[in-house]
Symmetry: C2
Subunit: 337 residues, 2 copies
């Protein structure tokens, strides 16, 4: 059961431990004869290097941690997939954890008893943690932030231009002839600012189009879940003058809203057009299919992992915001004559 060590193999092959190590790592030339003998012994004992020991010696683990609020949120699942793939390309594996949007959990990650020493770098999609906290706590592990911005200049950060993306989504609705466009997902009280940036973009688009900004059309939601999208939509439908379009700050909100509309017998997009953000696969198959701002998740993952690896290797430039590309994908939920 207990695995064979270099020593066991060395004894069996009648060579030194060091020689076995040399064969295993192929770093130093080894004579044909010994190599054969050692390889036979390796085979017979089914040797596997103990990576914990190797990591201790080398001072690196080859593991990255990816921390997201909720893994069952499709955006994060799809992003995680890309991150794992990107990490593999760099020779890293990924430890995955979720915080449930709990600030306590995020702090744990960086605190005293954490497993932070077990991975070489951290990809964090923060929700509740603040800039100061992160700065004072994350002095050990290289960090790259995903999505939420938190604070200027202190950390590497990868995300789309939220203002521009939101503006573009709203402009699209304007171009489709919508005049009373609601927004679902603002978070004026939150520590994170992604939602607030999207509100800025939404307002910009309305103003540029010469449309009035009606605050009763902006519905806040504490999280970005389907249920909350449905709930928000219900409120909008109850207004004396309901909207003719909704820009949702993510696809789950949009899908929840669409469900509510369908249930209420409101036609999408004829009566109310819907746009989301995230470009999750679910939106390709919903009824109707969902128009969305789709960030290039593979790009985000590659950039974030690449940056993190260069931070680990000490070859990274100073922290900077990286703007990831996105596309407006127009589908049925907003396609009007």
């Amino acid at each position: 059961m207990a695995g064979a060590t270099l020593r066991d193999v060395a004894r069996r092959a009648g060579v030194s431990i060091r020689t076995v190590s040399n064969v295993v790592n192929a770093s130093v030339p080894v004579s044909e004869e010994l190599r054969t003998r050692v390889e036979a012994a390796l085979e017979e004992l089914d040797y596997r290097p103990n990576l914990v020991a190797r990591n201790l010696r080398r001072g690196r683990t080859g593991m990255l941690a990816l921390v997201v609020p909720e893994l069952d949120v499709p955006y994060f699942a799809e992003l995680a997939r890309e991150v794992i793939t990107a990490a593999r390309a760099h020779g890293y594996v990924v430890m995955l954890d979720q915080t449930d949007g709990d600030g306590e959990r995020e702090r744990e990650l960086l605190g005293r008893g954490s497993r932070a020493t077990m991975f070489d770098g951290l990809l964090l999609s923060p929700l509740a943690i603040s800039a100061d906290e992160l700065r004072t706590r994350a002095n050990r592990v290289p960090v790259v932030l995903l999505g939420e911005h938190i604070f200027n200049g202190d950390f590497h950060h990868v995300a789309i231009d939220n203002v521009a993306a939101a503006r573009e989504a709203t402009e699209h609705l304007v171009a489709m002839g919508c005049r009373r466009i609601a927004a679902i997902g603002d978070q004026p009280y939150s520590t994170g600012e992604t939602a607030q940036l999207r509100t800025v973009g939404y307002r910009q688009a309305l103003e540029q189009a010469g449309l009035p900004v009606d605050d009763s059309l902006i519905v806040s939601t504490p999280r970005f879940h389907r249920r909350l999208g449905a709930q928000a939509m219900r409120r909008l439908l109850a207004l004396p003058e309901p909207p003719d379009a909704v820009f949702c700050y993510n696809d789950l909100l949009a899908l929840g809203a669409m469900r509510e509309l369908t249930k209420a017998g409101v036609r999408v997009p004829e009566d109310i057009a819907v746009v989301g953000v995230d470009g999750i696969q679910e939106g390709e198959y919903s009824s109707p299919t969902l128009t969305t701002i789709a960030p290039d998740k593979a790009h985000i993952a590659r950039t974030a992992v690449g940056t993190l690896v260069s931070v680990i290797e000490g070859t990274a430039p100073p922290p900077a915001d990286s703007r990831a590309p996105y596309r407006l994908v127009v589908r049925d939920s907003s396609r009007r004559a």
Copy 2:
């Protein structure tokens, strides 16, 4: 940058390394005076234990690996969430990897150069790997299988009763008055047998209801994705005598099929009723909402992690199949007058 070690703290507090270790681990009583001094030093140097070293010494890493085919498949994402939660309850963290259903990738996991020595146990949702391979390769790491069965008696295994579940789903359609019930998702050629078991249950239900089994109504799909569900549905619609219901082997297939039906102007459930398997959140908000067989994912995760932990600790009973509970959740996609 480089973290302080026990030695640094010891030097600073003027005590032995061992005493610092005792304070940190609180395992052995330490006098009030020294404890205070050591704790001050720990604080000043912001000491964090090097977990790699600790793991080497203790021979355990506190990490479990969860390997699934695809993380962006909602079922696996939702399951992963539960697994991470269950693992945390046992003091473990989770390394997550995906195989893309690639047998090669699965083999790598267990092979020579793998990171298998970095985690204490493996939760594997296999797709392509065979029983023999697993048996000869997984002699090192404790393994618990999720979903796919692979082989009797060699490995701990957690899954629902696929025959019964499929039978129940089909019976439900029969009870709703459907008489020409199709099945999407058979995999007669696959190494895995989940799909085949579901086909068995489907046939049993039809036979018990006295309905003919029409092989042209059983559509195979190599994977369980939305696109393939849509494709399969297209084929069924093209039949001279299309079905009046479809049992899909998972929710993604069902959602793909429903999309195709909506596009074709076929009403669900009036013209064709649809049932899926997996109980993913997406089905609660699709239009129409999706009837599904919902395995208790939290139960699966808890059982699997609990079993794995007991295998690791050497207190596990011999390998056995564990049947996880599931529920038939009836929603609009199959609700007929």
